[in-house]
């Protein structure tokens, strides 16, 4: 009713429409910018609390009137954290298990996806279904039997024991398979006619073309291995084999509630390397994940 009277008072309906559209656009822009501000606050404030916590003295942290900013910037908590637990060792363990695990995953992801798309094999689809089944079995469900297997092989508390059960890859294989399938088959035919074997076709033609998908799958592997928690928690038994996430949760059990500054500093040890990788490579990760979801 009111909309109609408004239209009548305005010179032409078209101008009315464009005016209401403009108002709508301004409103939605305003909401958009408030969403950006809200996002920055909701993610930023906890991160701010983490960083300032690592810089505060105990007296500042345990004051009944907590301040937002430390009175002076000091790095004692970082040195205390580094000395309080073998963080150098945790870093080495995390780097080794992450690189080994991600290398296994990405290698097998590429070769399996290549085989599923380009190599003839009877009942090839059954292999695909087998991988689908693997995707349905979460790590947690098979964790007790896997611990027993690793114990039988005398690999508890070793790098091989940490890496092996998670070395195979299903999700990344699908991601790559999907990408490989979208490539023009003429490419491969041409290479095969030229006499290139599968290994050469894969390494010098398919992998370079599929570099964005390989980067996405690789990053997903690296991040997952670096952050892995349950399995390394169970399969490591001494401090010198713990990875960073396990190391900081041990530090928390020892010092939590008494040394928040030290614990926050240690948390930064774990978080900063991944954030640096993400800053550098986020366009691969974000767009790759999005593409995977939208294509299905």
């Amino acid at each position: 009713m009111s909309a109609r009277t408004q239209t009548e008072t305005l010179p032409t309906p078209r101008r009315a429409a464009s005016r209401s559209m403009r108002a709508e656009e301004t409103l939605s822009k305003a909401l958009g910018y408030s969403a950006i501000v809200f996002t920055v606050l909701i993610i930023g404030i906890p991160v701010f609390w983490l960083i300032t916590g690592a810089l505060k003295t105990n007296r500042e942290i345990f004051s009944p009137n907590p301040q937002w900013l430390p009175s002076q910037v000091m790095f004692d908590n970082f040195t205390k954290a580094w000395e309080g637990a073998p963080f150098g060792r945790y870093y080495i363990n995390s780097f080794i298990t992450t690189i080994l695990g991600a290398a296994c995953e990405i290698t097998m992801g590429i070769t399996t996806a290549y085989a599923l798309v380009f190599v003839r094999f009877p009942k090839r689809d059954w292999v695909f279904v087998l991988l689908l089944v693997a995707l349905m079995v979460p790590e947690e469900v098979v964790i007790v039997p896997n611990y027993l297997t690793i114990a039988n092989w005398h690999l508890v508390n070793t790098y091989a024991g940490i890496v092996l059960p998670g070395a195979s890859i299903a999700f990344g294989t699908f991601l790559l398979r999907q990408y490989f399938r979208s490539l023009p088959p003429e490419l491969i035919d041409a290479a095969r006619v030229d006499g290139a074997g599968h290994m050469r076709t894969m390494l010098s033609i398919i992998v370079p073309i599929a570099a964005p998908a390989v980067a996405t799958a690789g990053l997903l592997s690296v991040v997952a291995k670096w952050n892995d928690y349950l399995w390394p928690l169970i399969v490591t038994s001494t401090a010198d084999m713990r990875t960073l996430p396990i190391g900081i949760s041990w530090l928390l059990d020892q010092e939590g509630n008494t040394e928040w500054g030290v614990v926050m500093a240690a948390t930064l040890f774990v978080v900063v390397p991944v954030v640096l990788v993400f800053l550098y490579a986020q366009r691969f990760l974000v767009s790759g994940i999005a593409a995977g979801a939208v294509k299905g």
Binding site: R120, E140, V142, V144, L230, I248, L252, T267, A293
Partner: protein
């Protein structure tokens, strides 16, 4: 050369030989991956089922077949109802919040705005951080005497809830942390979904005089439905598996207020060494996840056949 090649028996032999080579390549390429799955996924799944019928405690040499005893024990376990309720409450509230807030964020950020990509990346960042590290930071944030929330509420004269030690607040606290970690993932997926909706649909709707709400209702929502379906299922799966946050923040407590299926599995298996009963929980979890994944696969099939 040409003559022999044209001979039918020879060409078949050559074909067979080539096929045989191809099969070897296939085995070399896909074999290791499948073999590792056989060792660390398929076999353990069956072993887990077998263990669920035994009374083994991981240490003793005795391992007796006890039939369905562990299943009966789990059904009669007074904690089990609480654990299932917690799992349902945690999953439904965290999935709902991630989906709705993510949709809001996706819709608002999917415009030409300065700093939009930066905001998207910032929102996504918690998703790549270690769950254990995030959980530790949030324990400090929730601390009712020195934490961030206390600091924010104090000038307003409001007492901070005793989040992690109060059975009524512990589960909401875990949900908050979970949503904080996974919201950015949903937003990124929604934005991608929104960008895949053809712009001329909106133009056509505009020309027909459709209001913003009608465009949302009849263009955006149907266009987003496959992405939403994907998000619902992946969020359910990841919330079922959310172990690190719970183990670090509450260890299932206080008084089982945050004890979910995945935590109970760990508790029974690696704290109580009740391998059989842990096996039962593992099977329950597997059946639930299997059902959700089957739904997802049916959706993938539909996507493929319509593509």
């Amino acid at each position: 050369m040409q003559n022999t090649a044209r001979h039918p028996a020879n060409s078949i032999r050559r074909l067979i030989k080539r096929d045989w080579r191809e099969w070897l390549v296939f085995l070399a390429f896909a074999g290791p991956n499948v073999a590792l799955f056989a060792i660390f996924t398929y076999t353990p799944l069956i072993n887990n089922l077998l263990l669920s019928f035994s009374d083994w405690n991981m240490i003793s040499a005795d391992k007796n077949f006890v039939g369905l005893q562990n299943y009966v024990d789990i059904i009669n376990d007074s904690q089990m109802g609480k654990v299932l309720l917690n799992t349902v409450l945690f999953t439904s509230s965290s999935v709902l919040l991630v989906l709705l807030l993510g949709l809001g964020g996706g819709l608002l950020l999917n415009q030409k705005l300065r700093g939009r990509n930066a905001a998207r990346s910032i929102l996504f960042t918690p998703n790549i951080l270690s769950g254990a590290a995030i959980a530790i930071v949030w324990i400090y944030i929730f601390d009712p005497r020195f934490g961030l929330i206390y600091t924010v509420l104090k000038p307003l004269g409001i007492d901070s809830p005793k989040w992690l030690t109060d059975p009524n607040w512990a589960l909401p606290a875990i949900v908050i942390v979970y949503v904080w970690k996974y919201l950015g993932y949903a937003t990124v997926i929604y934005i991608a979904g929104l960008q895949a909706i053809p712009g001329d649909l909106y133009e056509a709707a505009r020309v027909d005089g459709a209001s913003a709400w009608m465009r949302f209702r009849h263009v955006t929502l149907p266009g987003l439905s496959p992405v939403m379906f994907f998000l619902i299922l992946t969020s359910i799966l990841s919330s079922f598996q959310s172990f690190d946050i719970i183990n670090v923040m509450t260890k299932g407590g206080p008084v089982n207020a945050t004890n979910t299926l995945i935590y109970r599995l760990y508790e029974l298996g690696f704290i109580n060494f009740a391998i059989g009963r842990a096996g039962v929980i593992g099977m329950v979890l597997f059946v639930m996840m299997f059902a959700v994944t089957l739904l997802q696969l049916r959706y993938l099939d539909r996507q493929v056949s319509y593509a």
